[in-house]
């Protein structure tokens, strides 16, 4: 065990799933920051999160249509990432402990969540950005 205090452990709803179902649940968990059925979450943060996510999605769509500059889409993505930290701390306040293929999760501190969201969104953002740039839609 790499954690001394077992009270720090948190198990998400899908934590006991196995195989493909667990992988699919993990993927969904990475992409969907909001709480699922039966999970507590504050309505105001959920609502604001949805609104900002729609705005960020529109920003990506505008970028895909070639109507948003590279700097603007990076700014939008950064802004959304900041809010995603708040949304996740409210709705899914846990991070993986140990290897990605493991089933151990722990309570996320603010720094844990910043690290998680920034790293995940860097990968997602870079993939989308490079894709758009390769298609010649976004120019730098």
């Amino acid at each position: 065990m790499t954690i001394a205090d077992r009270n720090e452990l948190r198990q998400p709803a899908y934590g006991e799933a196995h195989g493909v179902a667990w992988l699919a649940a993990e993927l969904w968990d990475h992409l969907w920051p909001w709480a699922g059925r039966g999970q507590p979450a504050r309505k105001a943060i959920q609502g604001a999160g949805f609104a900002l996510a729609i705005a960020a999605t529109v920003a990506w769509v505008l970028a895909a249509m070639g109507r948003l500059e590279a700097g603007a889409i990076i700014g939008w993505w950064f802004g959304w990432s900041v809010f995603e930290v708040i949304v996740r701390l409210d709705a899914k306040p846990y991070v993986k402990e140990g290897p990605w293929w493991g089933h151990l999760y722990r309570r996320a501190t603010v720094m844990d969540m910043i690290c998680y969201v920034s790293f995940k969104n860097l990968l997602i953002g870079a993939a989308l950005f490079i894709g758009l740039r390769t298609l010649g839609i976004v120019q730098v």
């Binding site: 001394a4 590279a70 990076i74 990605w100 870079a126």
Partner: protein, 735 residues
């Protein structure tokens, strides 16, 4: 140990002084940046009178006047008045007129080069560069000194960076320590620029290649077949590659091919067209065709005037370039091959240079201008595509062609032993760390040599070999460069040019995800190793009573400073990479390893010396509170796969937390992996039945009860003693 009150007073002052020091460093750096990102007059790149905008006399001593730009690629002639007559004494060229080879920054070093009529370099002057390493770490005078090595050397000589090898006719130039990539690029710029002009003016003679022999024409292939076997090639330039906004079309979309080959020529032109073309060509002349469709611009060039040069396309074979004038142009009315695309612009160009051979590979080069979005300045950029006839179209097949290694590969070959040794060291230390469970079991809290032998070896090698000898200290500037490259333009060649840094980074990325940043920071970072080694030496020479660590509460606040530094640098880099590079001087790495503490101006030396001096009394102050690289690596450490072990009792027992030099064990007994340097001291405790309180307690209890001390299991406890179940059969037999 120093009192807490003194520490509380000292720490904020220390932080404030560090901040002021960093600001002073950033400001003082600008004084060294004479040509760094300097704004050049736009006419320099476009005006026929180049020398009105460039100090041509500086690179061509004795010249009294200069011609307008001429030739392709352009150069100017330098003249001297002698007895009322003008005598040609040499040539002056602007490197960016000829080549767009980028240096470490990804941008070319704009260089003015003078060469006399005998092909010897007479002067070299840097007009503009974007090299961060020359901004602060290494004075520009080093690049000037490097360039002066070319003076008097012949353009046709085999000049490379490194040692001279007379047996190979190779002239070596001394590199600039710490700026290897920059000088390798600069050498290419010098030799390509000088070579191009020397060939135009007849100083260098073209290479004569054996001419191709073709088999008789076969059945005419379709367009698709021609494309498939490489007889027709495509060169596409995207708008963003020349700094233009996309309108859905490529900036340039060219199909091209070689027409002298009978099967291909007849497929493209038809039998009559091919015969007519061949009848027009003299011996040793060659024809190629180019068609373009739906492009944003013309490959012939809108500025082309009769009698002039087609300045947008040329053919290159080896070191020889072939440009086209109006007399080299023929109309191409149509393409016979079935399935050929429509086109809006077409041409047949005749290559008249005698050195060209259809049997050898050649390139069609599109010469463009890239527009800088911020300054609207145009810089030269070329795009090329290789063409080589398939073996079936040549009698006897393709000749053997030995292509020169790319520059990065030459560097890897030259440093193969160093690279190999470095990889072995990294793998050996990784193997040692992977065996940490065995090593810590062999150690005790009083004798940690089974672990420390490997760790100290890592420190010594990283300080001596990686830091001072190979100068491969990883830096936050590399992270910023990668981040920008990932988003904007990734060039493998750029990163491969420095093999040890490249290997080190792959190692760092892998080990950070497997074990966390602690393995690099704690075992292999040259500066971190030097810091902790100084701390250990301080301990050994009797300074232990002066050594201290900050109170946990203060440490828990100050540790965030490094993250602020990292995010600050990242944010600044989006607005100005140059400023971010300056601010990255918060890392004392350049001062310590690249330039040397005694070789830099006093603010840098004082900063690095202060950090190292403080490290004698406080364990790794820079790593804990300031290092942006450590912060960048700490973030993914959140997801490291394999952490250090803890027991349930660690929540209440503070034994190993008390000895944690990294202050990484919190009040609940959990290890903050982002702060942990993986020194393994706590893991030694974990298995030590004389140090770990729960183990020691159990040991004493068993000893008192006369029970055996069973081995300690992986969870850090003695294997429980369970009474063996009584074998009833045996019991019965005995009865």
């Amino acid at each position: 140990m120093i009192s807490l009150r003194a520490l509380r007073t000292f720490a904020p002052r220390f932080a404030a002084r560090l901040g002021a020091g960093i600001a002073a460093l950033a400001l003082s750096g600008s004084a060294l940046a004479d040509t760094y990102e300097v704004k050049l007059p736009p006419e320099l790149a476009s005006s026929p009178k180049m020398c009105d905008y460039a100090p041509c006399k500086d690179v061509m001593p004795g010249a009294t006047h200069f011609s307008e730009r001429k030739g392709q690629p352009p150069f100017v002639e330098a003249y001297r008045d002698e007895a009322g007559e003008q005598k040609l004494i040499g040539y002056v060229m602007l490197s960016t007129d000829i080549t767009d080879i980028p240096a470490y920054s990804g941008k070319p070093v704009v260089t003015l080069i003078g060469m006399d009529t005998a092909g010897k370099f007479t002067g070299v002057k840097i007009l503009k560069h974007s090299e961060p390493i020359l901004l602060l770490g290494i004075p520009e005078s080093a690049l000037i000194k490097f360039n002066n090595q070319y003076l008097g050397k012949f353009v046709g000589d085999n000049i490379e960076i490194g040692k001279s090898r007379p047996e190979e006719n190779l002239i070596g130039l001394d590199a600039i320590t710490g700026a290897t990539v920059t000088v390798i690029a600069q050498n290419q710029v010098m030799m390509v620029s000088g070579g191009e002009v020397a060939k135009q003016v007849g100083i260098l003679k073209p290479v004569i290649r054996p001419q191709a022999k073709f088999p008789p024409a076969g059945p005419a292939p379709s367009w698709a077949q021609l494309v498939e076997d490489g007889s027709v090639q495509r060169l596409t330039v995207k708008p963003e590659e020349v700094g233009l906004k996309s309108d859905g079309r490529p900036y340039m979309d060219l199909w091209f091919g070689y027409l002298n080959q009978p099967t291909i020529g007849q497929a493209i032109l038809g039998k009559d067209g091919y015969a007519s073309l061949m009848a027009r060509l003299k011996e040793g002349e060659h024809a190629i065709f180019i068609v373009a469709d739906n492009s944003m611009d013309s490959f012939k060039g809108s500025g082309f005037v009769r009698g002039g040069i087609y300045d947008r396309v040329q053919v290159r074979q080896g070191g020889d370039s072939f440009t086209f004038r109006d007399l080299d142009y023929l109309n191409l009315w149509g393409i016979s091959a079935a399935g050929a695309p429509s086109f809006t612009e077409s041409a047949i160009f005749i290559i008249r240079g005698k050195s060209f051979s259809g049997a050898f590979p050649w390139k069609l080069v599109f010469l463009g201008n890239k527009i800088d979005k911020e300054t609207a300045a145009k810089t030269f950029a070329n795009f090329d595509k290789e063409y080589w006839l398939a073996a079936k179209y040549l009698e006897g097949g393709r000749p053997v062609v030995v292509k020169p290694d790319p520059t990065w590969l030459k560097v890897w070959k030259e440093r193969a032993v160093e690279i190999g040794a470095f990889i072995v060291v990294l793998l050996a230390l990784s193997a040692a760390y992977a065996s940490r469970d065995k090593l810590v079991r062999r150690s005790t809290h009083k004798n940690k040599w089974p672990v420390n032998a490997f760790k100290y070896t890592g420190w010594v090698l990283s300080i001596g070999f990686v830091g001072f000898y190979a100068m491969a200290q990883p830096s936050i500037t590399q992270v910023l460069t990668w981040f920008h490259s990932l988003l904007f333009q990734w060039k493998w060649e750029l990163f491969l040019s420095d093999p040890l840094i490249f290997v080190f980074w792959i190692f760092i990325i892998v080990t950070t995800f497997v074990w966390g940043r602690g393995f690099f920071c704690g075992w292999l970072c040259p500066f971190g190793s030097l810091s902790e080694l100084l701390f250990k030496v301080g301990q050994a020479v009797g300074l232990k009573r002066f050594q201290f660590h900050l109170p946990q509460a203060l440490h828990d606040k100050l540790k965030w400073v490094k993250y602020a530094v990292f995010f600050g640098l990242l944010a600044v880099s989006f607005f100005s990479m140059g400023l971010a590079e300056k601010l990255a001087e918060v890392e004392p790495f350049k001062t310590t390893f690249l330039v040397g503490i005694t070789n830099r101006s006093w603010p840098y030396s004082l900063f690095a010396a202060s950090l190292l001096g403080l490290a004698i009394f406080m364990e790794r102050p820079f790593c804990k509170y300031l290092c942006p690289l450590g912060a960048a690596l700490a973030m993914p450490t959140t997801f490291r796969w394999f952490g250090l072990k803890r027991k349930d009792e660690c929540t209440s027992c503070k034994a190993c937390a008390k000895g944690c030099g990294s202050l990484a064990i919190d009040a609940k007994g959990n290890i903050d992996q982002r702060e942990c340097m993986l020194c393994l001291d706590c893991m030694v405790f974990y298995y030590d039945d004389h140090a770990c309180p729960p183990l020691a307690q159990e040991r004493k209890r068993r000893t008192k009860a006369g029970q055996p001390l069973t081995p300690i299991n992986g969870k850090g406890y003695f294997i429980p003693i369970h009474p063996a179940p009584v074998d009833k059969k045996k019991e019965g037999a005995a009865a």
